[in-house]
C-alpha cells in the first residue's frame, strides 16, 4: 500500500486489521512477511523558512532532496543523519521519516545533539487511524507533553509519521580535522581532552589507529581552533573522511554481523578489548568513544560482553535486533505501545 495523502493514510490505518511493515526508504528490512506500507506517496517540503532556521517536510520526502535544498541556502540538518543503505547491503533512498523513526544521527551528535534534539514537530497517524500533531514549527515549545521525542527512534511502532519539522543550523563555512596517531586504548582519553578544551570540537572518532577531531565554523575561527587543538593534543591537521565513519562504509560489503554499542565514552576502549576477545573482527569509534561500530562473525552474540549501555544488532539475522529492557521500563513501553497501537499492527518486528 502506498497512500498518497495523510487522508488516505488515515483510511488505511483505520481499515487495517493485520500487521503492517512501515517502509520509508527501505534501509531497515523487516524479518517477516507483513504487508508493506510505503510512505513514498507522502512527499514534498511543506515549508522552508531559512531566516527562521525552520523546515517542515512530509515524511516520505527523500533525505537527499532535503539536503540539496538546505545546501543551496547554506544550511543543514544539525545532527548529520547517516545513510546505512550500503552497510545494510540494500539499494534505498532514505526518507526523512525513516531518519526520524530510527533517530539516525551522525558524528555531530556530541555537540549538536541527535535527530530528536533538532526535531521540533510531528504529525502522525496512530494505529487506530487517528491523526495526531505534537510540537510545531518553533524551536522553543513546552506546550503539553513532548511526543516529538517519543516518536523519534520509535521505529514506526507508535504511528506512521506523515509530517516532520526541524530546526536547522547554518552550514559550516569551513571544516578541519586534527589527527593523532595512537592505539585505540588511549583514544577516549585523547578525545576527552579535546572535548574538555574550549575549541568547540564537533566530531571525535577513531579508525584504524588514527584518532580524528573535527572543528567547524567560520574559516578564520576554524584555522585558529584546529591549530590550537593540534598543539594541545600533539597531533597534526590532516584529512579525515567523516562521511565514511558516519555511514560505516568500511563494513559495507564485508561478511559478518554489524553491532552498534552506545556506552560511556571512557568505557569504549575497555569494551572494545573485550569484544575483540569475544571474536569481533573490526571496531570503529565515534562520539568521543561512546559509540562503537563492531564487525563480528555472523551469529556471534556480542551482548555477552560486560558493558553498561545499549547494544543493537544492525545487520544480522540470528539474534534480536533490540536489547531487552529492564522489566519496569519494558512494562511502561508495552503499555504505551498499546495506547498508540491498540490493534497491535504497527511494525510487529521492531522494538521487541
Amino acid at each position: 500500500m502506498t497512500p498518497s495523502s495523510e487522508k488516505e493514510l488515515i483510511q488505511v490505518m483505520a481499515d487495517a486489521s493485520g500487521p503492517l511493515n512501515i517502509v520509508g526508504g527501505g534501509t531497515w528490512q523487516a524479518r517477516n512477511n507483513a504487508e508493506p506500507l510505503y510512505t513514498s506517496g507522502l512527499s514534498g517540503v511543506t515549508l522552508y523558512e531559512p531566516e527562521a532556521l525552520t523546515l517542515v517536510a512530509k515524511a516520505g520526502t527523500s533525505l537527499a532532496e532535503i539536503e540539496i535544498l538546505l545546501a543551496k541556502n547554506g544550511q543543514c540538518l544539525p545532527f548529520e543523519p547517516n545513510n546505512l543503505a550500503a552497510l545494510q547491503g540494500v539499494k534505498s533512498t532514505p526518507t526523512i521519516g525513516g531518519v526520524v523513526a530510527t533517530n539516525a544521527s551522525g558524528p555531530r551528535r556530541i555537540s549538536a545533539g541527535a535527530c530528536r534534539d533538532s526535531l521540533i514537530g510531528v504529525r502522525f497517524v496512530d494505529g487506530s487511524g487517528t491523526v495526531i500533531k505534537n510540537g510545531g514549527r518553533v524551536m522553543k515549545n513546552v506546550t503539553g507533553y513532548d511526543l516529538v521525542k517519543l516518536m523519534s527512534g520509535s521505529f514506526g511502532t507508535l504511528g506512521v509519521l506523515s509530517e516532520v519539522s526541524f530546526k536547522l543550523l547554518p552550514a559550516a563555512q569551513a571544516s578541519a580535522s586534527v589527527l593523532v596517531v595512537e592505539d585505540e586504548k588511549t583514544c577516549a582519553a585523547t578525545m576527552a581532552r579535546a572535548l574538555g578544551s574550549p575549541f568547540d570540537v564537533n566530531g571525535a572518532g577513531h579508525v584504524d589507529g588514527v584518532t580524528a577531531l573535527r572543528v567547524e565554523g567560520l574559516s578564520g575561527s576554524v584555522a585558529y581552533r584546529a591549530t590550537a587543538l593540534a598543539k594541545l593534543l600533539g597531533g597534526e591537521i590532516g584529512e579525515f573522511d567523516w562521511q565514511v565513519l558516519r555511514d560505516v562504509q568500511a563494513f559495507a560489503g564485508q561478511e559478518g554481523d554489524v553491532w552498534r554499542f552506545s556506552v560511556k565514552p571512557s568505557d569504549g576502549p575497555v569494551l572494545a578489548a573485550e569484544l575483540r576477545r569475544l571474536g569481533a573482527q573490526q571496531i570503529m569509534f565515534d562520539w568521543a568513544g561512546g559509540l562503537l561500530w563492531v564487525l563480528a562473525p555472523s551469529g556471534m552474540d556480542m551482548r555477552k560482553a560486560k558493558y553498561k549501555g545499549h547494544a543493537m544488532l544492525l545487520r544480522g539475522n540470528a539474534l534480536p535486533v533490540f536489547q531487552p529492557r529492564p522489566a519496569v521500563i519494558a512494562a511502561l513501553e508495552k503499555a504505551l505501545r498499546a495506547k498508540f497501537d491498540p490493534k497491535n499492527i504497527l511494525n510487529p518486528d521492531w522494538m521487541t
Partner: protein, 476 residues
Amino acid sequence: MQMPVANAEIIASKAGIVARLRNLLPDGAVIDDPVETKVYECDALSAYRCAPLAVVLPASTAEVAAVLRACHEMKVPVVPRGSGTSLAGGAMPTADSIILGVARLDKVLETDYENRFIRVQSGRTNLSVSGAVESNGFFYAPDPSSQLACAIAGNIAMNSGGAHCLKYGVTTNNLLGVTMVTMAGEIVELGGAYLDSGGYDLLGLVCGSEGQLGVVTEATLRILAKPEGARPVLIGFDDNAVAGACVSDIIQAGVLPVAIEFMDRPILEAVAKFVDAGYPDAEALLVIEVEGSEAEINHQLALITKIAQRHNPVEIRESRSAAESANIWKGRKAAFGAMGQINDYMCLDGTIPVSQLPLVLRRISELSKEYGLDVGNVFHAGDGNMHPLILYDANKPGDLEKCEDMGAEILKLCVEVGGCLTGEHGVGIEKRDLMYEQFNGDDLEIQMAVKDVFDPEWLLNPAKVFPLDASEARRG
C-alpha cells in the same frame, strides 16, 4: 482561575495521613502546621493560592518512593515542587494534596570531566550545578533567569530554557538521564551517562511533563567546556520591525550568536528609571552575544555589525571590556524587576516563528490600546520566544481579569501565526484552559493516555496541563 473541588473525605482524614507520612520520614520532614505550610500555597504565579493538606521534604530517592507508595495507597494527590519559581502555577497545590518538595535533595553525586557529565540530586539549584564544575572550566548550559533559585527538578518538569539556548538548547537537550519514582512508588532509571539507551525515548517524554508522570530525584546532566570568552554588542533601532529584520539577516548569514535578546521602548523606559545601563534612546534594542577566542569574537562582532549597518541603527556599541559587557547585560537582566517597580505584571511566554515578529509586535501594541493596559516586550529573539509583560493593578477590581483576557488574546495570536502557547514556562494552571487553541481533542487524548500509563489514577499533579473538562473523567 477554576480549580477542581477538593476531596472532602481526604481533608477529613488529614490526621491519619500526616501520621502515616511522619512514620516514613525523619523528624521535621513532614509539615502540617498551617503557618508553616503558608509558603507552599503558591509558586511565582502568586495571584493564585491554596494551602496544601501537608508538605513533605524527603531527602533520598528511597524516602520519595516511600511517600509516593503511601499516598498511592491512600489515594491522596501529590504535587511535586522544585523551588517554587514556576510562573505557570505548576507547583500550586490543592487543599486535598500533599506537596512533595525536593529542597533537601541537594547533593552532587558524581562529577565526571572525562565524560562531561554531572549527576546531582534534583533539588539542587540550577546555578549551583554550574558552580560545582566551574573551577574545572565547565558549565551547565540551560540558564533560566531564575537560575539562582530554581531547582533542576523544576527545570526538568518544565523543560526550562534560558537566554543562551539559541546555541546550547534547552533542558531536554542537556539531560542525559534521570532517576524517577512513579506514583506507585517504583524507581525507574531512564538514560544515563551514554547517549543511546534503546527503547522509547522516555527521558524525552518525562522532560517537560510538568511533574505529572513521576518525581525525578536524580539527574545526569551534560556539562560543557567553557568558551575562551564571550562579549555582547548592543544595537538600537528606531523601529521594532527593522530590529526583527536584522535578527533574521544575522541568522541567515550563518553567524550563530549564543544569545539575541530584544527589548522594546516600554521596557527601555522602565529600565532607564531602574538602573543606569546607559542604553541609547531607541524603539528597539538588541543585545547579541558571541563566544570564542578574542579573534573569533572580533570576527563575529564585525560580521554582525556589518549586517546591522544595513538596517540604519541609531547606535551600535560593542563591548570592549568585562565592565562594558556587564553594563550591557545589566539592563536586560533588570528588565523584569524594572517593570515590577511600575506595577504588577503578567509575563507571557508564547513562541512565534521569527518571521512573524513584526506582525505580532504590531498586534500586541494594538491590543494594549484596546485593553488600556501597558505592555513591554523583552524576549529571546533568536528563537521567537516572546515575553510580553502586561502591566495591571492587582488592587484594582477587574484589572487582573482584564489582563488575563488580553494575555489569552496574545497567546491565541501566537498559535494563529504558527507558534505555541508556551516556550519555556510550561502550561501549569495558567494556560491549561487555552490548550484547545493549540490542540484538538485527539491531540490531547493521546497525551492524557500517556499519563494513564504512568499514573493510571491521576494522583500526580492532576489538575494541571490539561483543560479541566478534558481531564475530569480521569481525575475521578
